[in-house]
Assembly symmetry: C2
Homo-oligomer: 330 residues x 2
Amino acid sequence: MPEMDAIQAAKVLIEADLRGIDSHGVARLSGYIRLKEAGRANMNAAAKIIHETPSTATLDADQGLGLVVAPKAMDIAIEKAKQVGTGWVAIQNSNHFGIAAYHAMMALPHNMIGISMTNASPLVAPTHSKERMLGTNPICVAIPAGKHLPFVLDMATSAAANGKLEIAQRMGKSLPNDWVQTKDGGASNDANELKNGGSLLPLGGHKGYGLAAMVDILSGVLSGANFGPWVPPFVAFLNPLPNLPGKGIGHFLGAMRVDAFRSADEFTEQMDVWISRFKEASRVQAEQEVFIPGELEFRLKEERLNSGIPLHPSVWDDLQQVAVKFGLNL
Amino acid sequence: MPEMDAIQAAKVLIEADLRGIDSHGVARLSGYIRLKEAGRANMNAAAKIIHETPSTATLDADQGLGLVVAPKAMDIAIEKAKQVGTGWVAIQNSNHFGIAAYHAMMALPHNMIGISMTNASPLVAPTHSKERMLGTNPICVAIPAGKHLPFVLDMATSAAANGKLEIAQRMGKSLPNDWVQTKDGGASNDANELKNGGSLLPLGGHKGYGLAAMVDILSGVLSGANFGPWVPPFVAFLNPLPNLPGKGIGHFLGAMRVDAFRSADEFTEQMDVWISRFKEASRVQAEQEVFIPGELEFRLKEERLNSGIPLHPSVWDDLQQVAVKFGLNL
């Protein structure tokens, strides 16, 4: 793939590892390569705008990696926000875009609020259903502050993302209630339930189902991508369903200039008041502090920038195999 | 108040009752009157735009009712969306705006996606805190379909809204886990826990806290309204805190033209596919259907338009007292 695009994709993966979202970091590199080998990802993709207004655009990602096209789309959203206050970009014909936070946080240096979401491989059952109809469909909202670190909410709309199940599997632990259900829709605490045909449960019941559905519609239906059970799986060993209603997977991104609503200085000052006040909220246990969304990830990034990123032995093996395949020294 | 504004406020309250959100309907009428009597709501408010770009505006609601100013703000958002694709309005210096769905659904006849959210009286504790720092801060997203009814997600970001606790109180029932905590942050199933100084819990733990915080920041900090624990209480017998950082309560509304992203016909056709497919999702129990967000409320509205709105005896008494006070025959 073009060197600039490769660098961009690597940046998104490494940012995930730095922030402690190990499931979305370099551990996925071989997965993207398998998508290419299966003919499902185009490494020479040329994304293009297929629909546009002053505050919106729709992008055809040309089957490229979301890792590459989402930052380009975010640049467009930011440019539109500079012109008319806000910018919103829907993306079709894409693939997995990594962590949502990378894209939303691109707005922060511009004193803009960044928004990103994506649909994903169906694993989550709607309320009262036992069928996998929705992805873990994350939502990220990044909001600049002044002297404090930014507010960065980055959350799956399922009760738990797949990565947390994998950790429980490795440790042989049972899951909390309401994370998964059996293939018949029964209660389960088994971390291996997905392998038995079970499904993930939405965050907090029907509200999480509604949020995941909203993300699916904005990312998939509005952009012209696939949606619901038709979203092509990330894993290359599963084929997309026949008769797809759209193209690839979809994302939805936005940028809002803070000073399109009030002076940026006033806003960042008040955000500092907001953050300080929430840090001071009275604690249930004196030693357990209250966190601002994103705070733990910023701390982990600082730590990992100093001491390095610990990789699981299986991830390291996987990277070595990639290196051998491409004739690189690791 | 001006007759047009009174009619608008009544429409929002009655729509709540029609949709089955009885806690936000005419049951609240006397509460709004008490706010006026306490000098906290201005019935002759003249909302005005205090900041503007082609796709955004900030409104000062002049201490009026959210019931009146939010529809006016939504008209502005819709007008901006007609011009530049999307429109976004932040509102400061307002009061309770009723059900979020009324405002977001105003976008639907224009083939636009409507978004509405508001902050509210602090009742919800952040994760690891025992302090009431956030409101039930609802989010509504209304999305048009073709032959099907629209998708209308309207949800509090707390595990349960206050109205559900009141129902449990009346019926003498205990609450599910994770709805409330004691004043010390301990587990509780007591529907009266708020009276004991307890707090509501966010939807599904820290993610619900993050969503409620996002709503608070977009509605409160971005608009110049109050936020967090400073949001003035709806009940007139509680005074706002001293040294408020902003004005009144805040809302955040948006409208996105569907055809700012793809042809409206294509979109509504695909929304029909989305809805049909989700209605057909395989069921856990054959007799329990899968619902589309908003579907139950549309059904209830149809039923209540035919058979009338049942009012709790205490609500009827309350309305009669209002009628006597204003010399009306009820």
